[in-house]
Symmetry: none
Subunit: 409 residues, 2 copies
């Protein structure tokens, strides 16, 4: 089946936001065996959206449109599509009720234009959106399949995964099974290099890599009657080439995997963060249930805080500096002792853009992990922006916990 | 002038790479006063590229095409464009020499197909590319301006900035000015509701709203000779309707604005985070230069940490619970005193998905701010996912600092 993706939004045409939705959908559709032939971006302009829609409609089986489902005047996707297909827009009572409740629950002020979101083209299927006010819409007309999805990436992915995938699979009429391999400590291009022969010319199963920061997700999808057997055959080949880097098979991030491991094994942890400034704590506390493991975090950006709260020796700071193996050692070791947790971790480094010297350049970060039995300190030299250096530092701490406590979980 | 951007490459249609080129060009063209009406992505397929090119040619003044200028069989941009415009491709001796030298300088092996890159449409202008082998091409025909740019982002930007900008400025010959209004404490749809009459039917200046989490950006752009005067005229109307919500005119986030305010005014701050778990610290420390203001952060997820590190009274926790106005009061007040900073802030709440009760439901969050002169505690009831509740809590703290210390900065 052939598809076109249309992204609607003037903010995309002015470059105010990056179109990540299209890449996501293109990848997902490819994995579902759908050929994407065009990706079009068009503004909040009914004439031009009409032009794009009609052209897409004329030469594709599937059309996915993201954006323009909001409550404001310039959200026109449903209106334009309905008009071009000769469908009426009808206020859906259930949708109206849902919107009223949504605003009531949040104590938000409901305005008249919010009810625009309850208008649904006749005979269309509503695709539930649990993350926002704009439901998705599925129209099946004259053998064409049109999906209207909300623009915000989180909502778009949610609606796509909970509704669109099943419909496309049904159209495709085939079983699809996916295996995930979560990798860390290796870059995406090296992953591809190592399994080049498996990727090349593979159509079933298909192999796709997704680079996340500090992690790579390898997704292997097979379809048809022997899908399961096909996945088993390739599984041993993949493990043979990548085993050391696999930390999970669950499509979960490294941080979530580490967090789950700590919770399940009743391990407690404390954090002492300098350059990451709370990022490790923030990532940890995004994991539901972590309160049984995460006891204490100290963000000691200043030397004064390092001395007073973390009991780093002033001599250590004087002699070696805040960004040093010695300071990092005391940070992770001391923070662990405050509430006597099983693990203490620490970061101290120079995130930039200023503050670097010849001996201690921007990107130099010490990351440490301490238990009652051992302390490990790692010296890293990260590249990139301030944000990137900080993220890689946090990620390295999770890698170090993984390396010391488990391989695959 | 109207423009379309066409990105060529099958790897974009399979989602293998993210199309950052289009965003870059869209933003740059907008800033140059060019209206981008469509962004199209098409694969390495001559028929479909022809379709896209002809459609773009029919309704735009400027067409920018990136990608497909390489030496391989499926690099076909020059071929397709030349054929559609009835232009011959001619081997350019200087280009050929440049390519030979490029390979000689790098000790790379030159193959016959590399000379494909020396083929240039007749009467076209070569746009020098110092970063790669594919030169850009500028074709000016029948009042249309067609730019062919290399696909690798570094090379694309280089050719765009060194050649294309000057050509477009010369074509354009007009002034474009943009004003920004950063708003907080109001939703996007309410912003539009309030300035409905200004947005509706406005073509110069144009008004556009962009929703970020907890914030709205209003962008007002005018062009032409009276651009400045037009912006001044509408400015008072906007302020009249939205003044209370404006925190900046700089296109900066609320957190960055608050951070800059603290740094510029030599105000020091400490944080005590429970449900946000380091997110406030992490957002603060993403701001370069914040080390002079941000003294200490405590992530006190456990009651033990609240008592031992933050000196919250056990009686307070017993009597009112960790999620209470009283605990929040002690948290922000006590954390401020540890290093005697000007400001202390705190969060304590139930981020979910579990842990809620009838009296204290998921989403109940107390946010507090303390100085030596006053303490303000706010009771919030946030909706949404765990991540969303935590983000809104952090954002509320920045809103509270803004409300107490400045209105607009």
């Amino acid at each position: 089946m052939d598809a076109e993706i249309i992204s609607v939004g003037t903010e995309l045409l002015t470059g105010s936001i990056l179109n990540t939705n299209s890449q996501y959908l293109a990848k997902e559709l490819s994995n579902l065996g759908v050929n994407v032939h065009f990706i079009t971006t068009v503004g909040d302009n009914p004439e031009r959206l009409s032009t794009s829609f009609n052209q897409a409609y004329s030469c594709n089986d599937i059309i996915l449109i993201t954006g323009g489902l909001g409550p404001t005047e310039d959200d026109l996707t449903k209106e334009v599509v309905a008009e071009n297909l000769g469908l009426e827009l009808i206020e859906n009572p259930k949708e109206k009720e849902r919107i009223i409740n949504w605003f009531k629950d949040r104590n938000f002020h409901l305005t008249k234009n919010n009810f625009k979101q309850a208008l649904i083209p006749e005979n269309a299927t509503i695709l539930e959106n649990k993350s926002g006010t704009a439901s998705g819409v599925y129209i099946n007309k004259d053998g064409k399949h049109i999906f209207l999805l909300p623009g915000p990436p989180g909502e778009m992915k949610h609606v796509f995964n909970t509704s669109v995938v099943d419909i496309i699979n049904e159209l495709n009429n085939q079983e699809v099974i996916t295996n995930y391999y979560n990798l860390t400590g290796i870059g995406e291009s090296e992953v591809e290099d190592r399994i080049f022969d498996l990727i090349d010319n593979q159509t079933n199963p298909t192999l796709a890599t997704y680079a996340k920061r500090g992690e790579v997700l390898l997704r292997v999808t097979a379809n048809g009657k022997n899908a399961k057997q096909k996945l088993e055959e390739i599984d041993s080949k993949i493990k043979n080439k990548l085993e050391n880097f696999i930390f999970s098979y669950t499509d979960q991030t490294l941080a979530k995997t580490v967090g789950k491991y700590l919770i399940d094994h009743h391990l407690t942890i404390s954090t002492a963060e300098s350059c990451t400034g709370g990022m490790i704590g923030s990532i940890l506390t995004d994991i539901p249930g972590i309160s049984s493991s995460y006891m204490l975090g100290l963000i000691t950006y200043s030397n004064e805080a390092k001395i007073k709260e973390l009991h780093v020796k002033p001599e250590t700071l004087d002699k070696f500096g805040a960004v040093s193996e010695e300071t990092c050692y005391e940070m992770c070791n001391n923070v662990r002792k405050i509430l006597n947790t099983d693990i203490g971790v620490a970061t101290t480094g120079i995130a930039g853009p200023d503050g670097g010297t010849k001996d201690k350049p921007v990107g130099l970060v010490y990351t440490g992990i301490a238990t009652k039995d051992f302390v490990v300190i790692k010296k890293n030299l990260f590249q990139g922006t301030r944000e990137n250096i900080r993220y890689r530092s946090a990620n390295m701490v999770f890698q170090m916990i993984r390396n010391e406590f488990f391989k695959i979980y």
